[in-house]
C-alpha cells in the first residue's frame, strides 16, 4: 500500500520510514489521522491508504465551510443596549465531531505527551511538573496511576488545563478552535438575501430543548459519553457543542465593560483577579479590545456550557466564559480543529471550501 523505499519524511523529522504502513496504522489507532493528511506526509502515502485515512478522518471531524460569523460580547448588557458585534471571516476548517475522550487522551499520556517539550506552549512546559493526577503521575487531574476512572472511556476528558488541551491538539496534528470557528460551527450562519446573516441560537435551532443537551436541567449531574444527545448535533453532525463540558478555545475571553461595571478606559488601571469569590485570585490583565466596545481579559475563552450549567441562557452559542489556562476543572474539556487548507486536498470538498487563505479575518464592527 505504501511506497516501501525508505525516503525522508517530515513525519519522522526527516528520518527514513522503513515501516510507513505500520506507522500510519498506529497514527490512525491513536486518532491522529490529521498528521497523515498534512500535504507533505500525504504525498508519501499510497492513494488507497490516503483514501482510507481521509475516510477515517471524516468519521471523526466535520467540514465547516468558509464564511462570515458575528460574535457578540458576552454577557449581553442588562439594559438591552445595542451591542457592538464583530464580523469575522472564517476559513474552511474541520472540527472534531466529538469532544476528546478519556480513551483518546490516554494515548497521548502513554505516548509520553507530558514529556515532549516540542508539543507544549513554553508557559505550560515551565509548569508541566505540576500537571499530575491524584496519584502524582502526569495526567488529567481526576485520573489515577495514568488511568481514567472506570467506565468513562468514552466520556470527555476533564481536569485538564488549557496547556494540556493545547499540547494534545498539537500531538494529534490539530489545534484548539478559535471562538469564531467554534461559533461558525454551532451558530451555522446563513447569508439570506435581504436579511443579511442569520445565526442560530443553539446548534439545533432557536429553541431550547433539554433533551438535546446535557445541562443542569438534564439531571445527569456529571458527564455523559461524547456521542449521547444525537438530537443536539449541529447541521453537519458535530455532537455536544452545547452541554456536557465547557470547551477550551484557542483565544482569550472578552466581555462587555458594562457588565463588569468598568469603562474601556479603566482597562489596565484596575486590579482584576479571577478565582475564588472572596479569596485573592490570580491577577488578570485587562485590555481594551482593539475593535472597541469590549474588554479583553487575560483568561482563556470557554464555550458551550456543561452538565452543571444552571441557566439555559448561559448555554446559547454566543455565551462564553473564561478561566485561567492552568485551572483543571471537572466540567472543562475540549475538542480540536484544523484548517482545511492545512491538509492535503480532500477530493470530496468543493474547491471554494478549501480556498487557502491565512487565518480568520476580522472585518470590523457593525
Amino acid at each position: 500500500m505504501v511506497s516501501q523505499s525508505p525516503r525522508a519524511s517530515p513525519l519522522t523529522g526527516g528520518a527514513a520510514i522503513p515501516q510507513a504502513d505500520d506507522l500510519a496504522k498506529r497514527l490512525l489507532r491513536q486518532h491522529r489521522a490529521a498528521l497523515l493528511l498534512r500535504p507533505e506526509v500525504a504525498a508519501d502515502l499510497d492513494p488507497e491508504l490516503l483514501d482510507h485515512v481521509w475516510r477515517t478522518f471524516r468519521e471523526g471531524a466535520s467540514l465547516v465551510p468558509d464564511g462570515p460569523v458575528y460574535i457578540h460580547p458576552w454577557p449581553a448588557t442588562a439594559d438591552g443596549a445595542e451591542m457592538i458585534q464583530r464580523r469575522v471571516q472564517v476559513d474552511a476548517f474541520y472540527l472534531d465531531r466529538y469532544a476528546v475522550t478519556n480513551e483518546q487522551f490516554q494515548c497521548f499520556v502513554r505516548e509520553g505527551g507530558y514529556h515532549q517539550q516540542s508539543l507544549w506552549n513554553p508557559e505550560g512546559w515551565r509548569r508541566v511538573d505540576e500537571l499530575l493526577d491524584v496519584s502524582g503521575v502526569p495526567g488529567p487531574r481526576f485520573w489515577s496511576d495514568g488511568r481514567f476512572p472506570e467506565g468513562t472511556s468514552d466520556h470527555p476528558v476533564v481536569g485538564i488545563s488549557w496547556y494540556e488541551a493545547d499540547a494534545y491538539a498539537r500531538w494529534a496534528g490539530k489545534r484548539l478552535p478559535t471562538d469564531a470557528e467554534w461559533l461558525k460551527a454551532s451558530c451555522w450562519p446563513m447569508v439570506i438575501p435581504g436579511q443579511g446573516v442569520v445565526q442560530r441560537k443553539y446548534p439545533w435551532g432557536n429553541t431550547m430543548d433539554n433533551s438535546r443537551a446535557n445541562l443542569w436541567a438534564s439531571g445527569h449531574g456529571g458527564t455523559v459519553p461524547v456521542d449521547h444527545y444525537p438530537r443536539g448535533q449541529n447541521v453537519t453532525g458535530v455532537y455536544q457543542l452545547v452541554g456536557n463540558v465547557w470547551e477550551w478555545m484557542a483565544g482569550e475571553l472578552w466581555m462587555s465593560p458594562e457588565v463588569l461595571d468598568l469603562s474601556e478606559e479603566s482597562a489596565g488601571t484596575v486590579d482584576v483577579r479571577a478565582g475564588l469569590q472572596s479569596v485573592e485570585g490570580l491577577p488578570v490583565r485587562v485590555e481594551k479590545h482593539p475593535e472597541g466596545g469590549a474588554l479583553c481579559l487575560d483568561l482563556k475563552s470557554l464555550r458551550g456550557g456543561a452538565f452543571d450549567t444552571y441557566f439555559e441562557s448561559h448555554a446559547v452559542c454566543q455565551a462564553h466564559t473564561g478561566d485561567h489556562p492552568f485551572v483543571r476543572r471537572r466540567n472543562i474539556g475540549f475538542r480540536c480543529a484544523v484548517r482545511a487548507c492545512d491538509l492535503s486536498l480532500d477530493e470530496n470538498v468543493r474547491p471554494r471550501d478549501t480556498d487557502p487563505r491565512p487565518g480568520s479575518r476580522e472585518e470590523g464592527g457593525s
Binding site: V272, L276, S278, V284, V327
Partner: protein, 305 residues
C-alpha cells in the same frame, strides 16, 4: 356619595383591619391591616396566610455572617425546589416569597450577585412556603427568614431591637441552617469559625434553659462557596474537623442533631478592586448540593415531631 376631596369611610375594611393576628415568628399580636409585626418586623402577611390553621408553620432560621451566601443559597434553593423539583417540591405562599427567588436568579443570570440584605428586619426577605415530598403525602409549612448577616454580627452591641428579633428567631426556630463561608476559611479568616461557634452556643443555651444538655433542634451546617475546594466537597465533616475545629467540637458538645454539608452556587468569579471597593462577578453558575442540607433538615424535623 363621596364628594371630590373627601376620603371614603371604608367601614368594612376598618373593621377587618382591626382583626387581630398573632405573629408566626415572635407571637406578638398585630392588627391584620399592619404591614409588618410591631415587634419583629416580619410581614403580617406571613401570619395571615396561616391564621386559620391548627398547626403553626415551622420556622427555620438561616444564619451566617455577612456575605456568607445566605440570600444566594435561599434564592437558588427555592428555584430548584419550585421550578425543577426532585424529591422535594416547594410552593411559595405569597408574592413576597417569589420575590426572593426572582431577585436572586435574575442577578445570577446577569452574572451579578444580588445586593446584600439590608440590616433592618423590615427589609429582610421572608420565604414562606409549603414543602412536599414529590412522591408522598408529607407536607410541611415553613418560614425561612433571610436574616441580614450584619444584624447578627453586631450581636450584643448597638441596636437592641434588631438583636431582640434575631434572638427571638433563634429561640423559636425549629431548625437552623448555619452558613459558613468556605473561601473565608481558606484565606485564614477566623471570623466564620467564631461566628458559627457563637451561634451554635446560642442555639444550645436556649435548649439548656429547658433543662436539656444538648439542643435537639436539627442544625445543618453548610459550607457555602465550596465549589473550588475538593476536600470540602468530598468530606464536609472532615473539613470541619480540620479547618473549623472549634465549631466542630462545639457541635458535638451542644447539638444532638447536626450535619455538615458542602454547597455552592457560583463557580469561579472575577473580583475587581478599585480603591476600597471590591466587586465580584460570577463567571459561571454551577450549583452543587443546594437541596441536600434543606432536605436533611426537613426530614429530620419530621422525624422529631
Amino acid at each position: 356619595m363621596i364628594r371630590p376631596g373627601e376620603l371614603p369611610l371604608m367601614t368594612w375594611d376598618l373593621a377587618f383591619g382591626r382583626r387581630e393576628v398573632a405573629c408566626q415568628v415572635c407571637g406578638q399580636v398585630n392588627a391584620s391591616a399592619a404591614e409588618s409585626c410591631v415587634r419583629c418586623r416580619a410581614p403580617v402577611a406571613l401570619s395571615l396566610a396561616s391564621a386559620h390553621q391548627k398547626q403553626a408553620p415551622s420556622l427555620i432560621a438561616v444564619l451566617g455572617p455577612p456575605e456568607s451566601g445566605k440570600s444566594v443559597y435561599l434564592g437558588m434553593l427555592m428555584d430548584q425546589l419550585a421550578r425543577r423539583p426532585g424529591s422535594l417540591h416547594l410552593f411559595a405562599r405569597g408574592a413576597f416569597s417569589v420575590a426572593i427567588q426572582q431577585q436572586c436568579l435574575q442577578a445570577l443570570e446577569n452574572q451579578q450577585f444580588p445586593l446584600s440584605t439590608r440590616v433592618d428586619p423590615e427589609y429582610w426577605n421572608w420565604l414562606h412556603c409549603d414543602v412536599a415530598v414529590t412522591d408522598g403525602r408529607e407536607q410541611w409549612e415553613i418560614i425561612l427568614p433571610d436574616i441580614a448577616g450584619r444584624a447578627m454580627e453586631e450581636g450584643d452591641e448597638t441596636n437592641s431591637r434588631r438583636l431582640e428579633v434575631v434572638q427571638t428567631i433563634m429561640r423559636r426556630c425549629r431548625a437552623a441552617l448555619l452558613m459558613i463561608d468556605t473561601q473565608a476559611i481558606e484565606r485564614g479568616d477566623t471570623k466564620p469559625d467564631f461566628f458559627s461557634m457563637k451561634t451554635v452556643k446560642y442555639l444550645g443555651e436556649w435548649s439548656a434553659q429547658k433543662g436539656r444538655r444538648r439542643a435537639d433542634r436539627p442544625v445543618a451546617l453548610v459550607f457555602t462557596k465550596s465549589a473550588l475546594s475538593d476536600l470540602c466537597q468530598a468530606d464536609p465533616e472532615g473539613y470541619a474537623r480540620a479547618y473549623t475545629p472549634g465549631l466542630w467540637r462545639q457541635c458535638q458538645d451542644s447539638l444532638k442533631q447536626y450535619q455538615f454539608f458542602a454547597s455552592s452556587v457560583a463557580g469561579p468569579c472575577l473580583t475587581i478592586r478599585r480603591g476600597d471597593s471590591v466587586r465580584s462577578f460570577p463567571l459561571r453558575i454551577e450549583p452543587r448540593n443546594v437541596v441536600e442540607p434543606f432536605e436533611w433538615l426537613v426530614r429530620t424535623m419530621a422525624k422529631t415531631k
